[in-house]
Structure formats: C-alpha cells, structure tokens
C-alpha cells in the first residue's frame, strides 16, 4: 500500500499495537532542557526507574539562563538550581550535556539538527511544544508533557494514537522579501490555529523543495501554532548535504547505508492524506501579526482588521486582542511605533536568520527609542556569526549582541519586554504576556524585525 513519509516512520517504530488506535512507539532520541528535562529525570528516578537508554538522551540548558554578555549560571539566580540539578543528574546517568559556553550548547531545537542528533527517519521527543521543529530534517518529532517525558526516559517508548495526515503544498517561486517565516505565518492566517489539531503535517511543493534545511526548520517550528503536534519535510539531497560531516551524523560506509535508507522515506506518489491544502506563493507577502494569536496575522501592507466585519465567531477574540495590543482597526499597521526588537528563538536564530537581519542592518542604525537584541540560537551559531563579522555589523547598527538561549521568546529567564511596550519578535508566540506581563508582541521574520529596529516602527522590508 502507498505510504506517506509520516506512515513510514510511524509504522517502522511500532513495537506493539495496544488496541483502540493506540500503539507503543519506539523513541530514538530524547532531548532535555533545563526546565522540563532535569526534573523529568529526577521524577523517573524517584519512581524507581533509571534512564533506559542514556546514550540516546542529550541535554542542554537554554530556558532559565541569562543571555547577557559574559553571563554565568549565576546571572539569573532562579535558574541556577535547575542547571545544577541538570549537571548532577546527567553526569550520574551518563547523559551527554552541552553545558553553558561549551561548543554544542544552545536552544534545544537549534542544536539537535546542528549536531546531527536529529536524523531523517528517527523519532524524537522533548518536553517542549516546538519539538516539531526537528521535522524539518525528515524526523518524526513530538513535543510532550512531563509525564510522557518521564515515561520515555524509563522505557524509551511513548504510548500514542495515530494522528491523521495533512499535507500542505507551497507552490511557485518565493517572492522578493518573503522568507520561510512569512510562508508559515501566511499559512496559519489562512487555515487558523486549530487546523492541524489531531494531524501530522507534511510540508511539500516546489517552494519547500527549494528551501535550505534551516528554512524548513523554521516552517516546521510553527506547526504547533496551527495545532499540529508534529510537522515534517521529506529528506532529500539538501538534507543530506546539510548533515554530511556533522558531529553525530553517520560516517563513511555507515553514511552510505543511512542515505540509502533515507531515500526510501519520502511519501509515495499515490499516498493518500486526510486533508490537503495549497498555498500559491505569488500571493504571499511579508507578514506581521497584529493580535494575540499567531492566526492574527496580515501582510505588512494591509490595514489592521476590523472585528465588526470579521467572522462572527471571532469578533470577541479580535476585539480583546486589539484592546490588549493597543491598536485601532482599519489603520495601516505599517508605521506603528515599536519599542523593542528581539531577533532570536528556535524559530529564527540560525546563521541564515542572522545573515538576513545583518543584511538589513548593515550600514544603517537603529532608531534611538528602540532596544534591539540579537540572541544567537547556539554557541556554534554565535561563533560562526562572529567569524563572519556579523556581531560587528549589529553592534555598529546599535543592536545588542548576546549569548545563546531562549531569552525574550518566553521571558522565563527574567528578560522581558516591559508592560505596555511594543515588540517586534522573530519568535513563535504572541500570546498575552508571553514576552512579559502586558508586553505587546508582533511576530515577523528576521529581516522584518531588523527593518522595524531601523525605522523605529513596523516597516515593510521591501521598501527599505
């Protein structure tokens, strides 16, 4: 029978059929971060279970650490016990930890692909909803809660119900000024934040095939923002070129064997999906969110929506969102004054993202009233950017160059946008209070965020 990419990985990982649509699935990789990871490890041990396969488990502190230049684990004191516990627990069970300042450290979803811990055809979980990011490598990756993480540590498996399959085609040439972030925001605006609920999403089409791996990771990253626990892109020569030679990638004869297997993974031409949706790339413009849900998104040259003319079941939510964001319906969103710019997070903090932002910032200067931060996604991204002189470009443009971590994406490390202030952020969530209580967030691409810093207001990067 013809199979999808998802089916092939799922079926080959089923250990046992538990009935009623549930299976016991093998998990090939577990990634731990400082908020959910060490605690899960501790809980597993308290329940009397040592990690079943410690060599398949990897850890990195990223959430509750300061990203201030020269930071240590003490810079953000509430995070210090978490990182200490993580060190002790991973050392005890022989789990590899990429510690602060070490090569390999960074945001958990940046380092997985970067170190080739994430491989095509593997199953991977992490106690974090944006684990779907790893699907950009052709892996089946799920975000899980603490209990499921404890279960996986103890058994190297997960009890799961098979989701439905949803394929999204992005067809055509990517227009000038449009990035993977704009593609996925456009899609979420089109189908809504619940379209993917209960589904595994495959991103396909000519525009996806033309994207480098880093762009595919950005697209998969936002799968959870349309409700899908997992999103994926079929592995191809672009994936293999990206992986070749990376730290944990197979080498020599083993590499050839792996690639031969990976080539069998893409969906069969006649495989069936429960739902299909197509985006015409010629209709996609640079995006900016206006509200408090990623589906509250428009092209930057469009006016702020008017709830009275919107869909009836969304009017109350739109009105509340506009009130929180301090925006007036019907006005252009372009030109809205901005106080903060955050370029970082597992969505957009890879080297290609920093290059795109630097291309906009180069030879220009941020507006005086704006605070602009660049937070590289990993130690390696940071070093690579510095070797290229990107840190210098940013500093000369008045941006702050910081240490890797989650930072202002989630504000769990005390780095916050002050109440009532407006931020353009390259992260993935514009929820109420996400960047700090009362903070007003607009999601956009790195180029759009850099443009906002320069103009001091929401700006159309194509006009710069």
């Amino acid at each position: 029978m013809a199979k999808t990419l998802f089916d092939k990985i799922w079926d080959s990982h089923v250990i046992s059929d538990l009935g009623n649509g549930f299976v016991l699935l093998h998990i090939d990789r577990l990634l731990l971060h400082d908020l959910s990871g060490a605690r899960a490890l501790q809980e597993a041990v308290e329940k009397g279970y040592a990690p079943a396969q410690p060599r398949l488990v990897y850890g990195t502190p990223d959430h509750a650490i300061s990203t201030a230049p020269g930071r240590t684990e003490k810079t953000f004191p509430p995070g210090e016990p978490l990182i200490r516990n993580m060190r002790a627990a991973t050392a005890k069970y022989g789990i590899r930890l990429f510690d602060l300042g070490q090569d390999g450290n960074g945001i958990v979803h940046i380092i997985g692909p970067e170190l080739a811990l994430t491989l095509p055809g593997t199953t991977l979980i992490c106690g974090d909803s944006h684990t779907c990011t790893h699907g950009g490598m052709g892996a089946l990756a799920f975000g899980v809660g603490s209990s499921e993480l404890v279960h996986a540590l103890a058994t190297q498996t997960m009890v799961q119900r098979k989701p439905k399959r949803f394929r999204v085609h992005f067809e055509g040439t990517i227009p000038e000024g449009v990035t993977p972030k704009d593609m996925i925001l456009h899609l979420i605006g089109d189908v809504g934040t619940a379209a993917g609920t209960g589904h595994a999403v495959e991103y396909a089409g000519s525009a996806i095939r033309s994207l480098p791996v880093e762009g595919r990771l950005t697209i998969c990253n936002l799968s959870i923002e349309m409700g899908a626990r997992t999103g994926m892109v079929a592995p191809d020569h672009i994936t293999f070129d990206y992986l070749a030679g990376r730290d944990f990638a197979p080498k020599e004869a083993m590499w050839d064997k792996a690639v031969a297997h990976w080539r069998t993974l893409p969906s069969d031409p006649d495989a069936e999906f429960d739902r299909e949706h197509t985006i015409d790339m010629s209709k996609v413009a640079p995006q900016i969110t206006w509200g408090t849900s990623p589906e509250h998104v428009i092209a930057v040259d469009k006016p702020i929506p008017d709830p009275t003319t919107g869909p009836e079941d969304k009017r109350a939510a739109w009105t509340a969102a506009l009130h929180y964001q301090g925006l007036e319906p019907g006005k252009p969103i372009e030109g809205t004054k901005v106080d903060w710019v955050f370029i970082g997070s597992c969505t957009n903090s890879r080297i290609s993202d920093l290059r795109a932002a630097a291309a906009v910032a180069k030879g220009r200067h941020k507006a005086d009233h704006v605070t602009a931060w660049i937070v590289p996604g990993s130690e390696r991204v940071k070093r690579e950017a510095e070797a290229e002189g990107l840190d210098k470009v940013f500093r000369e443009a008045g941006f702050e160059w910081r240490e890797p971590g989650c930072s202002m994406c989630i504000a769990s490390n005390g780095e916050r946008v002050p109440p009532g202030q407006r931020s353009v952020s390259t992260s993935n969530r514009n929820f109420v209070g996400r960047q700090g209580p009362g903070a007003r967030t607009h999601l956009a691409s790195p180029a759009m965020a850099a443009a906002a810093a320069i103009k001091g207001a929401i700006a159309d990067v194509r006009k710069l």
């Binding site: 009623n20 279970y49 593997t122 975000g143 809660g145 103890a154 197979p250 792996a258 769990s412």
Partner: protein, 205 residues
C-alpha cells in the same frame, strides 16, 4: 495515577477561544516551583489578578458562585500552545476536575489524562447552552460529568453524551500507571531494539 469517575459541581463559564497554557500558568512559576504541587494560587493569574495584585472582579473565577468550581466550560482550542504540564497541575491545584470544551491542544489533552483531569469534548452549541444554564441560576446550578457512562448532566437535567477513547476512559477510571503498563512489554521493546540495531545501526550511538 489519580482516578476519575464522576464529579458534580458548579461549572465556571470561561467562554473564550484559544485559552493557551501560558495563560493558565506563567512560565516563571515553573522556574521557581520545583514540584507538581502548589501551583493552584497562580492558575490564570494574568486574568484573576490586576497588576497591583488585587483580584479582578471581572474574572469569572472571582465571582461568588464560580469560586472553587470543579468544572470549567470553555470555547475552542482550550490548552493550546506550550507543552507545559504545569498547566494541568495548576488547574488541579485550583480544584478543577474536568473541563468541557469543543476541542483541546493535543499535548494539553494528553497531559490531562496523566493527572486524573478529564477533558470532555462537546460541540460549542452544547457548551454554550451549559454556560447559559449555569448563568440562569447562579449559586444553584450544578453540572455532573460522569465518565463511567460518558455523559454530562446539565443543570436542568438534560443528559448529553460525549465520546472518549476506550483506552483513556479505562485508564482514568482505574487510575492505571502508564509506565507500569508499558513495562509489561519489556521483552517486545528489547526485541524491537535488537532488530533495529542491525537494521539502522547509525541510530544507535
């Protein structure tokens, strides 16, 4: 794991879409609180309290009949967003035993069953009608959520059936422990792994 069989009580209508887990529990609370307990006072703090720390009287959880409600009524996509299981712990800490909404964020939905909290799925029209019946008789109206018979009984006595996976229903009724259940498949897991080590040796570092 905690069992769930049946709950009868006041249901608080929090009739908004996309109640995300960041709204249910702020991440800072999970940095400084190291256990599953003690999160109740911070549940929904962004809407329950004003910036100065005083209660927000507009919030349903601060209104007399709805304080300490064991049931929450809400609209589409409840529990979307972050995977933080702390959202379920915080709800449980506030005394919530069941939520009734049209559908949920997938990860939140799974997390509920790990903690004895029942997420019931009913069409929005039914949830709205339940909310109306609650509001029509404040202080007196009660809802029953019955997992054994898979039904909700409204304040006026209407019986509304709901669907749930048989596996999840059974596990929640019996309070079964997932890890112990999986451990009974130990040999199958070992056999799968042994065969995978020959089939995909590059995965095994």
């Amino acid at each position: 794991m905690e069992k769930f069989t049946k709950v009868t009580g006041v249901a608080a209508p929090l009739m908004r879409q996309n109640v995300d887990t960041d709204l249910i529990i702020r991440i800072e609370r999970l940095v400084s609180n190291t256990g599953r307990k003690g999160l109740g006072p911070y549940c929904f703090e962004q809407i329950r309290f004003k910036p100065d720390g005083s209660e927000n009287p507009d919030c349903v959880f601060n209104q007399a009949p709805y304080r300490d409600s064991p049931i929450i009524l809400s609209a589409e996509n409840f529990g979307c967003g972050s995977s933080r299981e702390g959202a379920v712990w915080a709800l449980a800490g506030m005394g919530v035993k069941a939520v009734i909404a049209p559908y949920y964020g997938d990860i939140f939905y799974n997390n509920c069953f790990q903690n004895g909290l029942l997420p019931v799925m009913l069409p929005i029209a039914d949830v709205e009608q339940l909310a109306d019946e609650m509001r029509a008789s404040p202080g007196n109206a009660r809802i029953t959520v019955d997992l054994e018979n898979c039904q909700v009984v409204s304040p006026t006595g209407r019986v509304i059936p709901f669907k749930i996976d048989a596996r999840r229903q059974h596990a929640l009724l019996a309070g079964l422990d997932d890890i112990a259940q999986t451990m009974s498949h130990k040999d199958e897991i070992a056999a799968w792994q042994a065969s995978d080590k020959t089939g995909r040796p590059w995965v095994w570092l």
